[in-house]
Symmetry: C2
DNA sequence: TGATTATCTGGTAACGTTATCAGATTTGAG
DNA sequence: CTCAAATCTGATAACGTTACCAGATAATCA
């Protein structure tokens, strides 16, 4: 094309105020540049952070995101998956791990590239996932607590359904305990739904048990902060009376006093990776990986003290 | 249509695994059922909550949302607005109040229904908006502080550009002060960007001023919590040494000790209303209103004490 | 049974783009 | 000035729907 013609065309675009119609373009090209994202609950700090990193990575690659906030409602999840399919999205990211038969069947017959972000699909569903090693992460932190002299270690877990992050984290807790020859006190193990209030309520029961734990390990920062609030509401001190460790290393760890020591998940990397893999699949390449496991680490702040 | 024919068709849909193609449908119907949302920063509690209410209201009306997270980057905002136009979204919700010439011009010539949510457009842009009366809200809370005997009232404001929420809230602060015959101490007035760290940093400067304020009023909960952390990091106590009041009444008010008293914004209503008005416009009705002003109230928790 | 209405069938055009191709026109090299 | 290559022009089909219409068939009422 000659440069002068290009100018004339550009002038015409200006004059006529022409804006291309992506819908028509998509219809013929069969490419929408849309990524559908299913999120458990975007008003939560973990998911809203992850979502913002997904958005960032997507927009850098000229993809736009359609968000489906399902608030743990499986019907809404299925509905969104169907809508995504009708809308011909190029790919789907799922940040939710529960599944029912309908969703499972839908996903099995779905040809749209899909990746699980900070969640794993049932084994019958063949989608790549991006996670940390939850079991190892949990094991590592409990082992660290033990190395600090703790023996009375309470656990605030998450949903413990098979193959869920909640299950893995619980397994890691158990493994570290049995390995150290510490018997599990059932009074000190409770499961919530990752929310702040769950942590508060569960901590309440711990505080009523005969003997107090020396440390409580919560499987989300929100629950850890709930526990923290419960503790200070009972005029006890963290970490002097009870130590506290969270999970995720979300921003809430720094908004609270004492600052919360927490198991760090590389959220940015998780979001970015999910998008990268998805785009590879969209472009017809093999994802290259089935399960991406990113590395974790414990970041120490001020809510955990040594007993030695 | 006869019911038996309906059955046959439904059977065929099942057998062929037919899924309608919304893209093709949209092309002919000129309706995408898409709402584009521009958000300042979705990883922030205020915006992620509002967004989740917007999503809820939209999905109840069979609309899907496309989110553009601009992180206060005006170029990205313009880019998203253009993309929204190309994608033929049915409507746009803007949760951001800064504007430059490009955006202003774009919006002036845009025919897509648009509403501002918790933000107001420049007067040259004719879009409805949903807000509280920021000036009145700020005025009311400062007046309340005064009625509690406070005279040394510090202010952590937001961006103070014309017609912005930050400006209105500052005006309310000033009005209440002059009305009570209290002179404004410039050492006790600082402006941040609504983030926690801003509150922390600004509080630091207050703590270094000759005389300490008896209360600080921050124009977002995040900044208030930042201030709170700064205060406790200096071994001072809230509200014994310094009282604290936030703005928004977001969930952070309850995640922090002492619980933060804060000016309540009806976030759910704001999100819902924005969507309702937008949908009215999309359906060709007049929005009915130009500026919706919802009511606010101060919700008292434990960070404010009376001096009387 | 015949007239009237309800329902079905199949065909066509349109939405705004992209891909492709044939033919016309311009450009550059020798 | 000629010929090949580069560039332009205009036309056509396709993407998967919906709207519309004419004509055929079936159901309903008198």
């Amino acid at each position: 094309m000659k440069p002068e013609v290009r100018l004339i065309v550009q002038q015409a675009i200006e004059d006529l105020n022409f804006v291309p119609n992506s819908i028509a373009r998509s219809l013929v090209s069969k490419k929408t540049n849309l990524i559908g994202v299913i999120a458990s609950d975007i008003s939560t700090s973990f998911f809203s952070s992850t979502l913002s990193y997904i958005e960032e990575a997507a927009s850098q690659n000229r993809y736009n995101i359609l968000v489906g906030n399902i608030k743990d409602n499986l019907d809404k999840e299925l509905k969104y998956l169907q809508v995504f399919k009708e809308m011909q999205v190029d790919g789907i990211i799922i940040m939710h791990e529960m599944m029912d038969k309908h969703i499972e069947r839908f996903l099995q017959s779905l040809t749209t590239p899909t990746v699980f972000c900070s969640a794993k699909p049932n084994s019958s569903v063949n989608c790549p996932s991006v996670n940390i090693d939850d079991m190892q992460a949990s094991y590592d932190t409990v082992k660290h607590l033990i190395s600090l002299g703790h023996r009375r270690i309470a656990f605030i877990g998450g949903d413990t359904k098979e193959l869920s992050t909640g299950r893995y984290r619980y397994d890691g807790y158990l493994k570290a305990l049995v390995e150290a020859g510490i018997s599990v006190n059932p009074d000190w193990v409770r499961f919530g739904n990752f929310k702040l209030q769950d942590g508060y309520d569960i901590m309440q029961t711990f505080l009523q048990s005969e003997q107090l734990p020396t440390v409580v390990f919560a499987v989300s920062d929100d629950m850890a902060v709930g526990a923290l609030n419960c503790i200070v509401d009972h005029d006890l001190k963290v970490p002097d009376d009870i130590s506290l460790v969270g999970f995720d290393d979300s921003s809430i760890t720094e908004t609270v006093r004492p600052k919360l020591t927490s198991l760090h998940q590389p959220i940015q990397q998780i979001g970015q990776m999910s998008v990268d893999i998805l785009i590879k699949m969209i472009e017809g390449q093999s994802p290259g990986v089935k399960e991406v496991v990113l590395s974790h680490k414990l970041v120490e702040r001020s809510s955990l003290r040594s007993l030695l």
